[in-house]
Amino acid sequence: MTNLTQMSGKYVIAGIGQTAFGKLPGRTTISLNVEACKNALDDAGIEKDLVDALLVKTPTSAREFMYGQKLAAAMGMRPKIGGAWDQGGAANIALICNAINSIEAGQCEIALVCYADNPKTGNREHYSRPRGDDSIYGWFSTAAGYAIIQQRHMIEFGTKAQDFGLIAKAARRHGAANPNAQLRKEITIDSYLQSPMQIEPLRRDDCCLVSDGAAAVVIMSAVKARDLGIDYAVPILGLGQGQTSAELTNRQTLTSTEAVVSGKTAFAMAGLQAKDIDVVQIYDCFTIAAMMTLEDYGFCQKGQFGAWAANGYLEIDGGLPFNTSGGLLSETGMPGLQLILEGVKQMRGTANLQVANAKNCLISNQGGTMHTHGTLILGA
């Protein structure tokens, strides 16, 4: 049996593709997925006929039966392995892991992993949905789950509102510099504190965007990429996953995430620790999610975030550049695949805000209300 560390660097992201982000009226998720996949294949410089696995993350707002097979039909493909996978935003990294495992086992050779959704111009009811029977108490929406976690974090660790603002400020600064970002408007800590309360204690500027768009990556072995003459292949150094109870009321704690678990596997596979990481792309659907993920990876201690991240530490000229294309708060609200694309660009040295001499990039994806988690570490 292959062990974890032997897998480090053996597989690569050989191509990336995306659509525009923002309002894309009239486009189906299939149409968006096809565009992103076409761009990823062009980026890798390979024909679709070489792809024998097509793995798609279920569109959040528009679920369809046999979605993976519909996408394959739209692309004129007959993949050996294909289908749609639902675990919220952590599915992107799970699918990359599934692709690698399938290639390693000899079941396929080249995989496309993709995601598309159109809640901006389509149906966004998913995000304000009733949370089961507890909706009789007025318990609605995705944001509320994060808000109740944020409140508990403030209770346990004395976390201040402006600490969350440090995350929003960094993401918004980087998004403002990104010509493809949906929201290009910098903020200050003062303007963050004045942004309207949504579901208290969440402010508007704590919350990610709602966006149409798609992204895709091509996964293959490093050997295969070399054989195909792909110049820009980026090695996958580490991967890890973790999951906890979907019910917030049934968790041991509200203030820890599965980044602890997924990070442990990914760091072990890569032979790296938090202190070795040069740049991060952290799932920032809400600022509390990014804060707890950074704590749980060990970048800072719980309760010390505000002091650690002060003075622009997460900004492009700081100690740990974070979400260098703007993340979910500023580039696009897409659940996570854009963070992987930005990680690939950083490792290629082609990012819009390039971190000089970055040798690795850690990417976090998570889904549900910090229910599922995935960690990906890329190398240069």
Binding site: S128, P130, R131, G132, D133, D134, S135, I136, Y137, G138, W139, F140, S141, A144, A147, I148, I149, Q151, R152, I155, M197, Q198, I199, E200, P201, L202, E247, L248, T249, N250, L254
Partner: protein, 136 residues
């Protein structure tokens, strides 16, 4: 007036909802002593299906809360700003509910006691702050 959302009453959770109608907040307890909510037909700890519904003392504490300033459902439009909280019962299980006090009076870990309110055909478990601790 728009009706509140209805709970989805099933064979499994019917004893819980019947309990509220009878003035009791019930949680589940398996033969191995695990306790849980919401209702399920297997213990989420040991997967035992040998369990009973046990009456809670109705005493608990506030773990966390949020305040909605806008309604996500027409039935809550005249309730904003309203709170939704996670309550830990003294027996262990946790649940989602509302605390019946001004939102600015909510404090971490505050002691709570059960009250059952009827809204339409549904009986809801809600909580009041305990103004006096037992030892004062």
């Amino acid at each position: 007036m728009t009706e509140l959302p209805h709970p989805n009453i099933t064979e499994i959770n019917k004893p819980f909802w019947d309990g509220l109608k009878n003035g009791e907040l019930l949680f589940q307890e398996c033969q191995n002593g695990h306790r849980w909510l919401p209702a399920s037909d297997f213990c989420p700890h040991c997967l035992s299906s040998n369990f009973k519904f046990t009456k809670s003392s109705g005493q608990g504490k506030l773990i966390s809360w949020v305040v909605y300033n806008t309604a996500h459902h027409p039935a809550f439009q005249n309730k904003v700003p309203y709170n939704v909280a996670i309550i830990k019962l003294d027996e262990g299980p946790q649940l989602i509910s509302n605390i019946l006090c001004p939102n600015e009076k909510l404090t971490p870990d505050m002691r709570l006691r059960l009250t059952i309110e009827q809204e339409g055909e549904t009986y809801l478990a809600k909580f009041f702050p305990q103004l006096h601790d037992n030892h004062t």
